[in-house]
């Protein structure tokens, strides 16, 4: 039923080698022949079987992407970038969701390994030890996680954090809470690092948490922050920030008049919240594309001259309505 290279060869009156070459090394076959072959192929609707090709070339033409949780709105956007760029580069992409589970993540990498030329690990949950176990099974590129000797695209969270701090400082805030996400998470460490780098003599930071980086984590976090008497809150991510705003609304604390709130990620709903959330936008889709670029590069480059191992995308503070000057107490 499916049309093979043999069918095309027969119909065109040439050998399979010629058909194959007409597609993969066009200059090796006479113009006239090539035209004829390509037309025949087109007419028959021939499409090469990538699995068969992969068997001999060792290249599958596929990538894998593993994300911790598809229902976290952060990931679909980077996924979108990965998918789009991969398609441009004529790769197909395998998707897997490891449910925030490092063990599962390992299993997925191993399961994919044979079917892909490389995999992109998004905010990998693996510990360094666990990483050891998968390194070498296939080519790896990381997003939002720095791993020695492996290409990585970073979201420059530290820079984003600086912008957030500067923004709040400019508004006049002098005592600000930072709500930690999961302590073990690389992202959280990065954001804290940015926080410390941006430390100012005229601003006091109180760290709270860790909290679950979800809407549900917000209320508890909000209550603690209020008790600390801060005038502004920077949350680990938007989901948490939205949860905080929801709690503030319930407690009758006006945002931004009585409390400023800053999120992180710029997920779609950040702009739709009331008030719209000031947040640090990461270039997710571009990060996805960059990851694919790094992977393609890693695969094509001669190996000796390693391409760039690291691409850093900068963040952008999006000032919306959830931040303003502190209330004069």
């Amino acid at each position: 039923m499916p049309v093979t290279i043999q069918d095309v060869a027969r119909a065109a009156g040439v050998s399979v080698s010629t058909v194959s070459r007409a597609f993969t090394v066009p200059d090796l076959v006479k113009d006239e022949t090539r035209q004829h072959v390509l037309q025949t192929a087109e007419r028959l609707g021939y499409r090469p079987n990538r699995a068969a090709r992969g068997l001999i070339t060792g290249k599958t033409g596929n990538f894998g992407v593993i994300v911790p949780d598809l229902s976290n709105p952060f990931f679909p956007t980077v996924l979108k970038g990965v998918q789009a760029r991969a398609r441009e580069a004529d790769y197909a992409v395998f998707l897997a969701d490891c449910d925030e589970n490092a063990t599962e993540e390992i299993a997925l990498v191993q399961a994919m390994a044979k079917q892909v030329d490389g995999v992109i690990l998004c905010s990998s949950r693996m510990s360094p030890n666990q990483l050891e176990r998968v390194v070498g099974t296939t080519s790896l590129v990381f997003i939002n996680r720095q791993v020695r000797d492996h290409p990585t695209v970073l979201m420059g969270a530290a820079g984003g954090m600086r912008q957030a701090i500067d923004h709040l400082a400019a508004l006049g805030h002098r005592r600000v809470a930072f709500l930690n996400g999961p302590k073990a998470s690389w992202s959280n460490r990065e954001r804290r690092r940015g926080l410390r780098q941006s430390a100012r003599y005229d601003m006091e930071i109180v760290e709270l948490g860790p909290f679950a980086p979800r809407f549900e984590g917000g209320p508890h976090a909000a209550d603690l922050a209020i008790a600390e008497g801060v005038t502004a809150i920077i949350a680990f991510n938007d989901l948490l920030a939205l949860g905080v705003m929801s709690r503030l609304a319930d407690r009758g604390i006006a945002v931004p008049d009585e409390m400023s709130v800053v999120g992180f990620d710029d997920i779609p709903m950040a702009g739709m919240a009331t008030p719209p959330l000031t947040t640090v936008a990461m270039q997710n889709e571009r990060a996805g594309r960059a990851a694919v670029d790094l992977l393609v590069n890693l695969l094509t480059v001669s190996g000796a001259e390693a391409g760039d191992l690291r691409r850093e995308l900068d963040c952008q503070l999006i000032v919306r309505a959830s931040t303003s000057v502190p209330a004069r107490s």
Copy 2:
């Protein structure tokens, strides 16, 4: 570098056939031998090459999923279901995003065809004519789209619409607006159908639109609805509903006191809005799983006795704070 069946055979001192059988038809090989082979394989870290296997069996062990737009929060959740269930059934999944573009969708199906045993089309944007072109290239299962002779999982939007209408009627609303999504969309037609089926003598429905089913479509829609003097609005989807609420807030119209708003989809941010949005929850993740089940079924069943062609999941109205009794004018 990668370990093949040959390596295992050599190491275990048996033929490749035996190794192969030890995995695929265990009863054909003596217990003792099988143990030995499996242990050797394990020790060497052997994992069969699915491409090679597919070449001969004609089965790839892969599925494809095509969604119209990953950045629409509706899809990642069904994707999550697809992915999870596929993994349980030992399938890997190819993901593609067609950017709301039917032509691209066709191309994607065709590109995937050779590499998958079947593809799941989520809210396909193809016209019936275009569908003709891909039917037959591979096994197809649809989500949220009824296609003759093809397995389909439906979200029972009509039933959800009835619940929404009944809810508003019970609260005392007598004049309600429905904000249409894209006119050509199958989902929109389904929802309208539900609307008409639920028509009540004591309630007047005014249809508006079509509107872009996004947050940005909301303000325009809201203004029209207000001008119509309705006391409640049912939006094509949550994004639109959120956009409406945002506009109502801007115009100083209190939700739900002066206007009730109902959405559709129950996307994550629905529950986080202020006020939290009353909406119709679809069982996305279960729909994804069901689609995989149908596909597996379609592939394993003898062909003669076609399994079920249709699975309908019912919707559930989630009453939150955006609906209440109408203001007494």
